[in-house]
């Protein structure tokens, strides 16, 4: 009953999205305006349908309805309710259902919000979004039916994916990432609509920038949460492995970030229209490639689901989307070129352009490294893998250059920078950066990369703080406000700029944490009998005893656990374990991580002998790792600050006066 309801809602969703796509196109081509309204309602209906589908799946999981194949494969009678709920995205079919919920949610939100505006643009936006969503419903109708039944009905299911069970972060990382991925369809839809209607104007840029920034925020948080999950769960002491699927999330992030920056130049100076629309298209296509890599099983990774017939469908979707969008772009090329206002060599514009070149370079490097194994396998049949050292070598210099630009770019004036402005703005931060770096050398830091990043970060941070102080002082003097009020008003009246500074600040914190933690981490592998002690990085580690027993929450899981006490900068005891899940081929590590603001003590159990109680442990002392997650949170706060709608009061009249001509050009003709 419940599964049939779920299946029916998928079919209804397919019907509604197909209808919406057709009706929007008819409305756009001058059909009855009521078509537009009914198509919009159909999109909202598809969101409701996806919601009912997800609810039906969650109920089936919670009631252990093993008649549903997905439930039998991802649930067991012993599965706790919380894990049951998040199993919605534990495997292929369920995650597509969840995906459809988010994608239709974005579509409904955008179409509802702009229901009375941009009458030329919105039908095409709606048609594009409905088509994309129809694809996901079609996948669930044919090759990936989440409600497929199985017979005979098993008495017990095989239980959820072991990696999913092992850490609550699985409740957070996939939804954030999916929100980012699915949201990137919105700027893509605006891009397609603008190319069709030839309306790539400032108004368009403003909307698309906003609607890119929102999914960008989710994508960023999803990537950081994924890194954190990997660090807490996988037990190798690191957080980023340049795994193909990690790269797949990074790629659209890079192009979206490039877009957010280039849109600022385009908005301010005109031009760059081919470039900005190409970035929007690339971002969306890369999200599809990312999904394809995860869902099709053509690359091996902790993320990939089993091989499935869904792969060819996604491949077809990527090729259709790319062909259609590129075709549109090429068709409109003659209308789009030229018309930017000129600017000096050293200016904010040129910093932004260099930023885009670097982001694109990163995108190509990561894409090349990710696809190379496929290319080699296709041409010579050999299996190769492109490892972290290659990615580090290629990308670190570009990241460092971006870090430098991040400080210098926003401090440069639009137009042309004079020598005296540059001296005035950069001399002091440079001096402080040199002093801090020298101080760090004095304290014993010798690693060149870490020192460079630290110095650069201080320089860049100094420029930003200097700007805020300067602005606050000027405002306090000019308007006779106290400094706190002046600072608050300064930043909230220009949320985009200062929110951007917040994001940059978070990135700086992350960069320093990454550089120092990778430069100064220490690790060693030790074999200890019960009662033996070892030292690492100022910690005394003692192996107390080895325990092998079933997990109290699920007796089918056998835990091999080393109980360890430690003393040093932090004191206490910890358990580090290997868990043997019945449906997992390899034992799953459950590393113990003791976090402080200064450093993490990280202990993984590698091997053990139950007869003697002897264990082999991998010990890490990782400095400052927690600051990577804190930096990620600062990025998120900065982004939300930038997205938050500006207060309307007083500004409205000014804005209306400014926008009147632009708005007329959108609505006119």
């Amino acid at each position: 009953m419940i599964p049939s309801m779920g299946h029916a809602s998928v079919l209804i969703g397919l019907g509604l999205t197909v209808y919406a796509a057709v009706a929007f196109v008819l409305a756009a081509r001058g059909g009855d305006p009521r078509l537009n309204t009914s198509a919009r309602r159909a999109v909202i209906g598809s969101f409701v349908a996806a919601g009912i589908g997800c609810a039906a799946m969650v109920i089936s999981l919670l009631t252990h309805d093993f008649g549903v194949r997905y439930v039998a494969e991802n649930n067991a009678t012993t599965t706790p309710p919380f894990i049951g709920v998040i199993s919605l995205w534990a495997a292929l079919e369920g995650s597509i259902l969840f995906w459809a919920l988010l994608a239709t949610g974005w579509a409904a939100l955008v179409l509802h919000r702009y229901r009375d505006r941009y009458r030329q643009l919105m039908p095409w936006v709606g048609a594009t979004l409905a088509t994309v969503n129809a694809f996901f419903f079609a996948v669930m109708t044919w090759p990936g039916n989440p409600f497929a039944l199985t017979s005979p009905v098993a008495a017990e299911g095989s239980g959820p994916n072991a990696l999913l069970q092992n850490h609550p972060f699985m409740a957070l990382h996939p939804p954030l990432l999916y929100l980012g991925y699915t949201g990137m369809a919105v700027p893509f839809a605006f891009g397609v609509a603008a190319l069709v209607t030839k309306r790539l104007d400032e108004e368009w840029l403003r909307i698309v920038r906003r609607w890119t920034l929102i999914p960008w925020t989710f994508l960023t948080l999803g990537i950081v949460a994924g890194a954190w999950w990997s660090y807490e769960v996988l037990g190798w002491g690191g957080y980023w492995a340049w795994d193909p699927v990690e790269n797949a999330a990074l790629l659209p992030w890079l192009t979206a970030t490039a877009f957010i920056h280039s849109a600022m130049v385009a908005e301010r100076r005109g031009g760059l229209r081919i470039w900005t629309s190409a970035l929007v298209i690339a971002t969306f296509v890369l999200t599809l490639v990312g999904t394809f890599l995860t869902r099709s099983g053509i690359v091996a990774s902790v993320h990939s689901f089993t091989q499935s017939p869904i792969g060819p469908w996604f491949l077809a979707a990527i090729l259709v989307a790319l062909t259609a969008a590129l075709g549109l772009l090429v068709w409109r090329l003659p209308d789009l070129s030229g018309d930017g206002r000129p600017s000096g060599t050293v200016s904010r514009e040129s910093a932004f352009l260099l930023n885009n070149v670097l982001f694109l370079g990163l995108t190509f490097a990561v894409l090349f490294g990710t696809l190379l194994p496929l290319l080699v396998a296709a041409t010579s049949g050999d299996t190769i893998s492109v490892g972290a050292p290659w990615f580090d070598t290629v990308t670190v210099p570009i990241f460092v250059a971006l870090l430098f630009l991040m400080g210098v770019g926003p401090a440069l004036p639009w137009g042309t920078a004079s020598w005296s402005t540059m001296r005035e703005r950069f001399a002091m931060p440079l001096l402080i950066a040199v002093l801090v770096t020298a101080g760090a050398v004095g304290l014993g830091l010798r690693e060149v990369a870490s020192l460079g990043t630290l110095g650069l970060a201080v320089f860049v941070g100094g420029i930003m703080i200097d700007e805020v102080i300067r602005g606050t002082r000027a405002r306090a003097r000019g308007r006779n406000e106290d400094h706190a009020t002046a600072a608050w008003r300064l930043t909230t009246r220009n949320r985009r700029r200062y929110g951007g500074y917040g994001v940059h600040l978070g990135v700086l914190v992350m960069a320093v944490a990454v550089a120092i933690s990778s430069g100064l981490a220490s690790d060693r592998t030790v074999t200890l009998a019960p009662g033996e002690t070892v030292t690492i990085g100022g910690y005394q580690i003692r192996h107390d005893r080895l325990v092998v027993e079933p997990l109290s929450t699920d007796v089918r899981v056998i835990e091999t656990r080393a109980e360890v006490t430690y003393s040093g900068a932090q004191n206490g005891s910890l358990d580090t374990a290997l868990r043997d899940y019945p449906n997992s081929q390899a034992a799953i590590a459950t590393p113990a991580v003791r976090t402080s603001l200064a450093e993490d003590l990280y202990v993984t159990l590698l091997a053990s002998d139950s007869a003697t109680g002897v264990v082999t442990l991998h010990l890490f002392v990782n400095p400052l790792v927690v600051w990577i997650w804190i930096g990620g949170a600062i990025v998120g706060i900065g982004a939300v600050f930038a997205i938050w709608p500006e207060r309307r009061a007083r500004r409205v009249s000014v804005e209306q006066r400014q926008r009147a001509p632009a708005a007329a050009s959108v609505e006119g003709a």
């Binding site: 194949r69 039998a72 494969e73 199985t150 005979p152 098993a154 299911g157 095989s158 239980g159 490639v289 394809f292 099709s296 099983g297 053509i298 690359v299 091996a300 990939s304 091989q307 792969g311 060819p312 491949l315 990527i318 090729l319 790319l322 062909t323 590129l326 075709g327 090429v330 090329l333 003659p334 696809l371 496929l374 290319l375 396998a377 296709a378 019945p582 449906n583 081929q585």
Partner: protein, 177 residues
């Protein structure tokens, strides 16, 4: 000249499509087995029925070694009828040996009771020794050994009737498919 810009579309789309398409031809998890072409490991094990079976008793006959588990859903369930019918059709010419992979005899018996027991023996590999000897990474995996005791083929993942026929052709003297 202006029309040349249209070349951009196929120039980008075709290579990307080709590259991703070739990915379907292989399974990235599949590890080429060094056992193929080599002598199969020798073994003696207790079976689910309580008998003892060893490679000596199979000498001179082609046989199939199938690693499976009751918890391996759906792959082991899917391939189960393929093995059963091949065993019934193979008659005296073909032996099939199941091996329990990280599984308990009780669970395996209830699996066979539920999904049908064709009657071929299942070895209780309690220590996982046999799985290590064959280099099994996860069930189901199936090895095809000819009458001379040489491993001729390995199936990674569930068998289908067509795959079964292909692999059997390498080890059976006549076409007993």
């Amino acid at each position: 000249m202006h029309h040349l810009r249209w070349l951009l579309v196929p120039l980008l789309v075709i290579p990307l499509g080709w590259l991703l398409l070739t990915g379907f031809a292989r399974d990235p998890r599949e590890v080429a087995s060094p056992l193929v072409g080599q002598q199969a490991p020798a073994w003696t094990y207790e079976t689910l029925d309580g008998d003892t079976l060893s490679t000596d008793e199979l000498a001179g006959r082609p046989y199939v070694v199938n690693f499976w588990a009751s918890w391996c859903i759906p792959a082991c369930v899917d391939e189960h009828p393929v093995l059963s019918s091949a065993y019934q059709r193979g008659g005296d010419e073909l032996m099939i040996v199941g091996v329990l992979y990280q599984d308990t005899p009780a669970d395996a018996e209830s699996f066979l009771a539920r999904y049908g027991d064709a009657g071929y023996p299942h070895l209780i590999d309690a220590t996982g020794r046999l799985a290590i000897d064959f280099g099994v990474t996860g069930p189901p995996e199936t090895f095809f050994v000819d009458a001379d005791g040489i491993v001729q083929a390995k199936q990674f993942g569930p068998l289908t009737d067509a795959l079964m026929a292909d692999h059997l052709a390498r080890i059976l003297p006549s076409a007993a498919r």
